[in-house]
């Protein structure tokens, strides 16, 4: 019959109209500033710099390698490399960013900076209320504004942050083992050298005992 589809549709909308006053479950929207839906774990808005420990400046993971700056499609990252070096989390001497600025108004939230970073130093934030009344200074975030603790990272992306921590711990263990092996090798070399010396000069005291425990793999 011509027109029964219209009647069916109108019955449906009438049902919506009246029942939305009766049952609150039908209302799909929330009244935003008062009520909020918690952000989902995979949400991403704008990058931030992760730091370990309590001091943001000392704990920044960023080593100013500038890969993200070069990869950023809209070129919203600006990095100035430091002249001196400071030890990173494994104790290796690294550069650090003397300046690290990201322009909020240019960033397109593509997450490419996060994907290319070899140091797990830059991650995506879920904070979305970035509006400001200062459209120049307020939208240009410097490294202090960008720095956020690893605990914060855990609070917004728990799964991802745990994986990252595990990876970093493994890397650190590996580095330590390597360092130890190197130290052992060095010690062994000096011991052998001294042993040879001792052999050359038998009147010398007892040779130093060989190290018993070999370092891990």
């Amino acid at each position: 019959m011509l027109g029964d589809g219209i009647l069916k549709g109108m019955a449906e909308t009438a049902k919506n109209f009246f029942l939305s006053y009766v049952s609150k479950e039908r209302l799909t929207t929330v009244e935003y500033p008062e009520h909020r839906i918690p952000t989902v774990e995979n949400a991403r808005v704008f990058p931030f710099l992760v730091y370990d420990g309590a001091d943001w400046e000392a704990g920044l993971r960023c080593v100013a390698c500038q890969i993200c700056e070069k990869e950023c499609p809209p070129k919203c990252i600006y990095i100035e490399k430091s002249t001196d070096k400071k030890p990173d989390f494994v104790g290796k001497q690294q550069f650090y960013p003397a300046r690290f600025d990201i322009d909020v108004s240019v960033c397109m939230s593509c997450q490419i900076c996060v994907e290319v970073c070899p140091f797990e130093a830059i991650k995506m934030d879920t904070e979305f209320e970035l509006a400001t009344d200062d459209r120049f200074g307020g939208l240009l975030e410097d490294r202090q504004k960008l720095a956020k603790s690893n605990e914060y990272y855990h609070s917004i992306h728990p799964t991802e942050a745990t994986e990252v921590d595990a990876r970093l711990a493994e890397e650190k263990a590996k580095a330590e083992a390597k360092a130890k092996a190197a130290a052992d090798a060095a010690a062994k070399a000096t011991a052998e050298a001294s042993a040879a010396k001792a052999a050359d000069a038998p009147d010398h005291a007892q040779p130093t005992p060989k190290p018993t425990a070999e370092g891990g793999s």
Binding site: L2, I6, G9, M10, T13, F17, S20, R26
Partner: protein
């Protein structure tokens, strides 16, 4: 007391006019009526915009505007202030004079339509013998304003919207007129107060509204379809078509000129609902004989607001038609059916009182609807779409 309340606005006008010398009284009375219309209907427009937004929200399971004032009722005040303080941009290559005139022509023409509408018992500004004709003459001027707006803006979207509007409004104007002719054939008058008076009678407590006759019901449904198309409301909102044409003929309007277009559209909705009420729903007459003590103007506004609610309900339900569907529907389905309805009305008029005319008229109209519906629903011309060049 009830009679006084019914005539309260007339009494108030006469009392105010009584302070003046006799020579000035008729003219002042008309001016007071004009002032009342110019205040009441835009006020109603302001309320309708917020109720429409809230109603559409509820239809879509949302809450709707609720921030400005209690329940968001002051939203139109905020909107008005916003549109007044906005910059009025006129495109450099637009025809400035016509661009400026178009919204004014729309609003003035639509306000003129209210002059002949009987808002209550004795409450009509100009009791014209050819009131219906005047109404449609003024209604036709809105097409002119739409085309002025689209043409003078010098914008392809505006022009496309205006072309669509003119094609659509002219097609449905025919239907609108012919469906009201049925009422004129029965009541024998073009004067709107006389048409209402003819319906303000009761048998066994039920009114003699024209919608309660077979031809009246058919005529009312056709009128409602044509009125929706005439006021460019969804599902016939092709001239505006915001998903295709930005905003159609008022793309290049901003600030208060845009607000005037908006006002004009809603006032056209009120006036066409008022005419539909007058023609088919008994105008200001009460729906039952025991309710005649309620003031007549309450019935009129109640019926108009009910029609507005149906407009909003339709807008919340139906998707927009395509231009060819719109035209096919107007010329191949609605217009033949309207002509048939005129024949049925003539039959009704000449078959005299009795139950036979009810049976005959109902059978003819239902049979025609079913047959034409079947013809319309044949799917033979639908099928896999073929492209001539794009394969």
């Amino acid at each position: 007391m009830a009679a006084n309340l019914d005539q309260i606005f007339i009494l108030l006008r006469d009392w105010l006019v009584g302070f003046l010398p006799a020579a000035l009284r008729p003219a002042t009375g008309v001016v007071l009526g004009v002032i009342a219309i110019v205040c009441v209907f835009p006020g109603l427009f302001a309320l309708t915009t917020v109720f429409e937004r809230k109603g559409l929200g509820r239809i879509q399971n949302r809450i709707g505007p609720n921030r400005v004032g209690p329940f968001g009722l002051f939203q139109p005040v905020a909107d008005g202030i916003k549109s007044l303080t906005k910059e009025d941009v006129v495109p450099l290559s637009a025809n400035a004079a016509v661009h400026f005139l178009a919204p004014l022509v729309l609003v003035v023409a639509v306000f003129m339509e209210f002059a002949v509408l009987p808002i209550g018992r004795n409450m009509v500004l100009v009791d014209m013998d050819a009131g219906l004709l005047f109404f449609f003459a003024m209604g036709a001027a809105t097409e002119l304003s739409v085309f002025m707006a689209g043409w003078s803006s010098r914008n392809k979207y505006s022009l496309l919207g205006a072309m669509r509007a003119v094609a659509q409004m002219i097609s449905y104007e025919v239907v609108l007129l012919l469906s009201s002719v049925a009422v004129v054939m029965i009541s024998g008058s073009l004067s709107l107060p006389k048409i209402v008076a003819a319906q303000d009678q009761f048998t066994n407590g039920f009114p003699h509204w024209y919608i309660f006759t077979p031809w009246g019901l058919a005529g009312f449904l056709i009128y409602a379809i044509a009125a929706t198309a005439e006021t460019n409301r969804s599902p016939f909102d092709l001239p505006e078509g915001e998903s295709e044409l930005v905003a159609g003929y008022h793309t290049e309007y901003s600030g208060f000129k845009f607000a005037l277009f908006f006002l004009g559209e809603y006032l056209a909705m009120f006036s066409i609902s008022g005419l539909g009420t007058t023609l088919f729903l008994g105008g200001w007459s009460a729906p039952f004989s025991f309710l005649t003590w309620v003031p007549s103007w309450i019935w009129f506004f109640g019926k108009v607001m009910l029609s507005i609610f149906v407009f909003i309900w339709l807008r919340g339900t139906l998707p927009r038609l395509r231009q060819d569907q719109l035209m096919n529907f107007a010329w191949k389905f609605v217009l033949p059916f309207t002509l048939l309805n005129l024949m049925v009305t003539a039959l009704w008029r000449f078959m005299g009182e009795g139950w036979q005319r009810w049976v005959v008229c109902t059978v003819i109209l239902v049979a025609a609807y079913v047959v034409m519906g079947r013809l319309e629903m044949r799917r033979e011309h639908f099928g896999p779409r073929s492209y001539r060049y794009a394969e």
